[in-house]
C-alpha cells in the first residue's frame, strides 16, 4: 500500500555498485544482449531493490548507511513509490 495507511510509509531503496568499481554482473548482461537482438545498450549495472514500510521514514538514510548499503562499494537512492502503486 502506498501513502501513510496504518501509520507507515512505503519506501524503496535502490542500491547499485559505485561507479568505477568493476561490475561483472552488469557487464555479463550487457554482453548477452546483442545475441538477443538488443543492440545499442550500454552502461548496464545490476543492483538491488529493497522495499519497506516505515513508521518513521526520516530514519531511512541512517538505516541505509548502517545496513542496507555498504557506502564504500555501493551507492543508494531512496525512492518514494508513485501514488497508487
Amino acid at each position: 500500500m502506498a501513502g501513510a495507511d496504518g501509520g507507515v510509509t512505503r519506501m524503496r531503496v535502490l542500491i547499485r555498485p559505485k561507479a568505477g568499481i568493476l561490475d561483472p554482473q552488469g557487464r555479463t548482461v550487457e554482453r548477452a544482449l546483442p545475441a538477443l537482438g538488443f543492440g545499442g545498450v550500454s552502461n548496464v549495472h545490476v543492483g538491488r531493490l529493497v522495499e519497506l514500510d516505515l513508521e518513521d521514514p526520516g530514519r531511512l538514510p541512517e538505516l541505509c548507511e548502517r545496513l542496507l548499503a555498504n557506502p564504500l562499494i555501493e551507492d543508494y537512492e531512496i525512492v518514494a513509490p508513485p501514488a497508487g502503486a
Binding site: 555498485p17 568499481i21 568493476l22 561483472p24 554482473q25 545496513l67 542496507l68 555498504n70 564504500l72 562499494i73
Partner: protein, 224 residues
C-alpha cells in the same frame, strides 16, 4: 593460550578452524548469540555463509551479539583472524579496510593457490618469513577484495598487505593481488584463502599452520 572460534548460523568451516587451532593450543567454539568470548586469548571468525549471505556477505553477521564482543576485543588489541566469510564479516564491521566483491569470473572457485607473505609481521603471520610462499586452498564466490587506490597506497606503505596471490595467480580479480590485510595494530588480519584446510600432509599442504603458530608465539606482543 586459548582460541575461540565463532559459529554463526550458516558457518561451515568452524570445525576445521577449531581442529587446526587445536594443533597448537586449546580451542573452543563461541556461539553467535552469546555476548561472551569465554576467556579466549585469540578469536577466529571462520568461513561459511553466515546468515545465508543475505543482503550482502557479512552484513548481518556483523551485528550479531558475539561480534560486539569480538569488536571490543579487537579494538583492545586482541588477536582476531577472519578467514573467507570471516574476512568479509571483519570488513563489514570496520575492523579491516576494504570490502569483498563478487569474483570477476562470477564463478565459485575451489582450488589450491600460492600466496606470498608480505608486509610487516602481524600477530597471525609473524612465524612465517617475509617472502614465504604458502600453498592454501581458496573456495569462494565473493573474494575480490577491493579498496580505493589511496587507501591501498596507505596500506602498502604501512606494510598492512600481509598476503598476496602469487603473480599471475590471482583467482578472483582482487585489487593488486591482495589476499589478506591487517589492521593498523597488526592484531587483526583477514584473508580469503583457508589456512585451516592446510594443516595436514594428507590434504596436500601444512602451510596454514604457521598462522596458528604465529599467534601462539607472537600474539602476546599485541594481546590486550
Amino acid at each position: 593460550m586459548k582460541f575461540g572460534v565463532v559459529r554463526f548460523p550458516g558457518s561451515c568451516d568452524e570445525v576445521d578452524a577449531l581442529l587446526a587451532a587445536r594443533r597448537v593450543s586449546p580451542a573452543e567454539l563461541l556461539w553467535h548469540g552469546d555476548r561472551d568470548l569465554r576467556g579466549a586469548d585469540a578469536v577466529i571468525v571462520p568461513g561459511g555463509f553466515s546468515y545465508g549471505d543475505h543482503l550482502r556477505v557479512g552484513a548481518l553477521a556483523r551485528f550479531s551479539p558475539v561480534m560486539e564482543e569480538v569488536e571490543r576485543f579487537a579494538r583492545a588489541g586482541g588477536p582476531v583472524l577472519g578467514i573467507c566469510n570471516g574476512f568479509q564479516v571483519l570488513c563489514e564491521a570496520g575492523l579491516l579496510p576494504g570490502a569483498l566483491l563478487p569474483n570477476t569470473s562470477l564463478r565459485f572457485l575451489c582450488r589450491q593457490v600460492e600466496v606470498q607473505v608480505t608486509g610487516r609481521p602481524t600477530a597471525w603471520t609473524a612465524a612465517c618469513a617475509p617472502g614465504d610462499r604458502l600453498s592454501l586452498p581458496v573456495k569462494h564466490t565473493t573474494g575480490r577484495w577491493w579498496a580505493p587506490d589511496p587507501v591501498l597506497d596507505e596500506l602498502e606503505a604501512a606494510g598492512r598487505v600481509v598476503l598476496r596471490y602469487a603473480p599471475e595467480a590471482n583467482p578472483n580479480g582482487s585489487a593488486r593481488d591482495v589476499a589478506g590485510v591487517a589492521s593498523a595494530g597488526g592484531n587483526v588480519i583477514g584473508l580469503m584463502p583457508h589456512p585451516e584446510h592446510a594443516v595436514d600432509a594428507l590434504t596436500g599442504s601444512q602451510d596454514g599452520l604457521c598462522l596458528f603458530r604465529s599467534v601462539l608465539e607472537h600474539g602476546a606482543l599485541v594481546a590486550p
